[in-house]
Amino acid sequence: MRFSFASLAHNAMTYHQDWPRQWRSPTPKNHYDVIIIGGGGHGLATAYYLAKNHGVRKVAVLEKGWIGGGNTGRNTTIVRSNYLWDDAAHLYEKSLQLYEGLSKDLNYNIMLSQRGVLNLAHSLQDVRDTKRRVNANKLNGIDAEWLDAEAVRAFCPIIRTDKKARYPVLGASLQKRAGTARHDAVAWGYARAADMRGVDIIQNCEVTGITRQGDRVTGVETNRGTITAHKIGICTAGHSSVLAEMAGFAVPITSHPLQAMVSEPIKPVLDTVVMSNAVHVYVSQSDKGELVLGAGIDAYQSYAQRGSFHVVELQISALLELFPIFSRLKLMRMWGGIVDTTPDACPIISTTPVKNLYLNAGWGTGGFKAIPGSGFVFAHTIANEAPHALNAAFTLDRFSTGHLIDEHGAAGVAH
């Protein structure tokens, strides 16, 4: 059933009794053309584009829990493409463009809210780095503006911009097309759309082994039996190393906790997304009224989906220095995800040492905003057994050659 106002009104008449499942709950087949391991946004989007753009018929997404339950359902929902380095910028811009048409494409309101993203500059070096990034964005055809302190004040009056602030605001970059999207809806929208194109989405199906014949992958062992496949893609952010180990190769990834939180809901007070890499704060206000906040990653490696409270304290103190009026609002809920971090803070979307096995990993803190673009190029990579131009740089072997991409430098940590 297509979603529209008409179908909603029609169903309202019958008290919503006739809505079908948004995606089926099929029993796994014995064999698929392509198996995607991981039913998060990246995996579901990959399956969708495999079916839609490459006409692959038999595709399964295997999810050990419930779809969208990993980082897709735990992030701070920011979408933007104002990355410094060309390779990252082009990939994220593709992603943002897909986001802009995604609700229509998926026939699912992913609630894209292009309220703009401000990246604050607090020191002279921040100013240099920010302008460098704005200039790179403009030349790459990505919308970007430099705002001086006065313009920041005009755009977002509740940010503290006086000179006495511990972290004075010297200016900011603004990407107006950036903003937020409803994270769950992205997963569900892709799942529904993929399902409609015949993709089997199999939940509660945990991969316990990856089978190989020589240097070629042949299938997976799961808690629901053995499933063979011609090709397999891994999209298991947080657990990439675990899956890679099953397949017998190593990845230059470490898993860390990343914490996020929301305040109690309040009436609209913040009409954009504000990020400050220097003090590790980012904040937006959801449609529901909650302030959605993120911090920097916890220092240690972990798969426990929780971090340490002092990281939150540090972040809230910086938040209040930037937004003193938030002091009497209340922290309502906090949680943690597991992020894959790579040495150059850029993803790996690549072939692997194992034939017909493909890896999509290492998104660090930037995974959500990349979902459509990542799925688009990963589907291409799997279908064509070679990367798309947009992910050609994000190979696994760059860590041997030293040809890193490096978003660490001037762009800082991506969120």
Binding site: H239, S241, V242, E245, A250, V251, P252, I253, T254, S255, A299, Y300, Q301, S302, Y303, A304, R306, S308, F309, H310, P343, F399, S400, T401, G402
Partner: protein, 103 residues
């Protein structure tokens, strides 16, 4: 906020330490003789184990010693710690931690 036992100073809060990642990564004796792949693996290859992991911590705001910790990355249980130049077995560390008792 992990509670980390510095082998010298005893239990302290995580904030006194900085993290050094995987422990016991061997730096090649003659780097110029290793292949690009092997050097890349030394620089970036990390087991990233889910479960018990030996990791480096630096008591940066305390005695300024690097030491190693055996910790479960799946649930943050800490088994024990030992100085930078040792490598006790997991069984030894578990025994040691039991001896430590409740306190």
């Amino acid at each position: 906020m992990l509670k980390i036992k510095c082998p010298y100073c005893g239990d302290r809060d995580e904030t006194e330490f900085s993290y050094g990642g995987e422990a016991h990564i061997e730096r090649p004796d003659s780097p110029s003789e290793v292949s690009d792949e092997a050097w890349g693996a030394y620089l970036f290859g990390r087991p990233n184990k889910k479960g018990l992991m030996r990791e480096r911590w630096f008591h940066v705001h305390g005695c300024r010693r690097w030491f190693n910790l055996l910790r479960d990355t799946s649930n943050h249980t800490i088994i024990g710690s030992y100085t930078a130049l040792e490598k006790p077995s997991i069984a030894e560390l578990k025994k040691e931690s039991r001896k430590g008792g409740a306190k």
